[in-house]
Symmetry: C2
Subunit: 224 residues, 2 copies
DNA sequence: TCGCACAATGACTGGCCAGTCACCGTATGA
DNA sequence: TCATACGGTGACTGGCCAGTCATTGTGCGA
């Protein structure tokens, strides 16, 4: 159930070419941002890599931040695909909540390992924009998170109804789950700045998934 | 057990006055930063509020970022005091791990509610600096976190030894605990940007502590 | 009384780069 | 063949403010 469906009428050559050029700029920007970081990257360099001039970028994106948000759109689409694949009613059939969590964390972490630089830029710039004075940009991230949470909530509520999960507020649980995965990513990303005490639990998507799943499902206390 | 003990020799009048002036600037900076946000605040304004001129600030702090880090020093001292009060061997006597968690989360959230603006600046600027090219500033936050984690780990390991906690890696658990409290703060801080779906579980330090404690100690699954 | 060290001052500079816009080239279609 | 629109171009500008430094003031000890 994608939020916006492709318009069915075929696009004119003009429109196709326009989208193509937009995509070229987007790809160049992603590469440059990932390489230098967002704030260190200049639009001149993005333009150069895309083989256009700086002014051209402004025919396709309203501002540097806008360009960044367009990149984030793609990233968030991927993440939502992961969530929807794991939490849709269909894929819940015959799977325990534990299995769903495990699969989700694994896939999410996998994606993180494959797009590290971009994830780190996402985190850094998200915090910048969320606390900026620009209400609209701040809301963008709120809405993206809302979208993820909404995709998880029905499944969690269903698990509660079946008696599989404790009757906790599903929205809070979804947020916590996302928060824990993100927290883990940060933890991994930041290792190596110091002498790296390096707890080896977390260095593959499998390990991360196992740790989080155990912890979230059964808790820390030893009730045996 | 504070990390640095006060030097025992009494300070000369000069030194006392110097510290006093430094403190005045620090307080003015905290007020201005909290009010306008760090990046919107100018040193001219800080100086004005402290009733000095801009140049004077540079007699006490090497840069704007340095000034901010000095403010964070105080904040982190508070947080460490909270952690040490709850996780010290002495205060563990006769308390279950559950009680320790609960007390910790409650106190930590309390402090957050009383210093919201500063916490938000901390989060935003920490992410900025951690991902900046300045290795030294990045490490500052690593070390502060390391300090907090280190204060918690012995208690967690003790709980494992007593069979109260599952034998999970203590460092990862400590990080997770901190991550969850921070995640909750973010969640609270960001409500109200949109129409606010507003799950009411999290709006007092008591609720937050209860939710997190249940969840972390016993997990999500209903094994009854 | 002098001189030195310490401290305050605030006008000024330097560097940065996002965003602009007047101009040019090219394709389309009348 | 000309007219129009669409798109590309890149030199330029405007605004910003952290950080500097030459100058002035002050208090203390000799």
């Amino acid at each position: 159930m994608p939020v916006i469906t492709e318009t069915p009428e075929p696009l004119s050559r003009r429109e196709r070419e326009r989208l193509q050029r937009r995509r070229e700029i987007l790809d160049a920007a992603r590469a440059v941002f990932a390489e230098k970081g967002y704030s260190n990257a200049t639009l001149d360099e993005v333009a150069q890599r895309a083989e256009y001039a700086k002014g051209t970028i402004y025919n396709y994106f309203a501002s540097k931040d806008d360009l960044l948000l367009a990149i984030f759109d793609d990233l968030y689409d991927d993440l939502n695909a992961i969530i929807e694949a794991r939490f849709s009613p269909a894929s819940m059939e015959g799977r325990s909540l534990e299995e769903v969590f495990h699969g989700f964390v694994r896939a999410y972490m996998e994606h993180f390992f494959q797009n590290r630089e971009l994830f780190l830029i996402l985190v850094k710039e998200a915090y910048r924009m969320v606390f900026s004075d620009d209400r609209e940009k701040a809301c963008y991230f709120q809405q993206q998170r809302e979208r993820m949470v909404s995709a998880m909530v029905p499944t969690l509520e269903h698990a509660i109804a079946r008696g599989e999960m404790k009757p906790l507020p599903a929205v809070a649980v979804a947020n916590m789950l996302l928060g824990n995965v993100n927290g883990m990513q940060m933890h991994i990303a930041l290792e190596g700045l110091e002498e790296a005490p390096c707890d080896p639990v977390l260095h593959t998507s499998d390990d991360a998934a196992a740790f989080l799943t155990t912890m979230l499902c059964d808790g820390l206390l030893d009730r045996s």
